[in-house]
Symmetry: C2
Subunit: 189 residues, 2 copies
């Protein structure tokens, strides 16, 4: 859909989504744009869907651990390609059924494993927040003689850093899955 592609491109370029500017990019009058969409919120929702549609299709999920890790990796990859969309999509309602469908198999696997419905939205947020951060990346470290002298634990963390986008993603997946498994055990313990 032309509107979604143009919106994604505009956000990449300007960091924001103004309807008048979007109409201009599309070469139509604002009134004509509003005959296709209800408003800015719908355009953001369509752009989010387009962003997620560009992700690789995945085989069906049957196991919750696999589902959580795969969702984290999918979202991280999608968000990394469209960082400037993040403030917009985290502030606007998801109403596109096809976007929500992305979460359905993971939610189904979690319920099947024994997680309770009350936890699902919290788990989705946990994964989404981690993906958002991984897409932004962690600030580069600095090291000075003073830091080395006064902050030994921080200095050790830099001297022995194994941080990379890939290691951080793998570490996040591990901690989240182990933490969730521990909550599941307690519930049934």
């Amino acid at each position: 859909m032309r509107i979604a592609d143009a919106a994604l491109a505009l956000v990449e370029q300007t960091g924001d989504l103004q309807m008048v500017q979007l109409a201009k990019t599309l070469g139509v009058a604002p009134s004509s744009l509003y005959s296709h969409v209800d408003g800015r919120a719908e355009v953001i929702d369509l752009a989010r869907l387009r962003m997620l549609e560009r992700m690789e299709p995945q085989p069906p999920v049957t196991q919750w651990r696999e589902g959580v890790e795969r969702l984290l990796r999918q979202l991280t990859a999608g968000y990394t390609r469209h960082k400037r969309m993040l403030p917009l999509i985290f502030g606007s309602t998801i109403s596109e059924e096809r976007t929500i469908a992305l979460y359905e198999p993971v939610f189904a696997a979690l319920l099947e494993a024994g997680f309770i419905p009350e936890q699902l939205r919290l788990i989705a947020a946990l994964i989404d927040f981690q993906a958002m951060g991984l897409a932004h990346g962690f600030p580069e470290p600095a090291m000075t003689e003073n830091i080395r002298k006064n902050l030994p634990a921080y200095t050790a963390s830099i001297d022995h850093s194994q941080y990379s986008p890939e290691s951080a993603t793998a570490f996040s997946a591990q901690v989240l899955i182990r933490g969730l498994a521990s909550m599941l055990r307690e519930e049934h313990g």
Copy 2:
């Protein structure tokens, strides 16, 4: 420091930090601004420090679980008040020793507990990423007849949602701490 306060206010207002605009806000010539700071990166670093200095002072940390939870809550509170700073601070080097000092007691407690130096930066990123997401908040859910018919697990997640900023923060803290405890046990197991 006037520069840091003005920079924070400018980012809140415009979502960006332009040096020429900052000089204008301060009522000085850009050349005069550059006699106080080296450049934009240093201003961002100072603004980040000012943002974190506004957080409540905390008693000393002795236990890693407490340290992780408190750091998560501190960062979430600070980031929530200054959301528009997030894209800037996650893209720029931390060199201010006083900012780094915030992480030092948690890092020391983690090392004391048996975590290895290689894990510290990954753990800091994990916490920071959750704080960033919690500050943004999770998109509002939508519910339609079609979604209710086609996506039963998602529907259950909305019908039984216990998501709130506070419950999401508590859930993140729990999952992170339990996940990290599990990695620590394995290392020493």
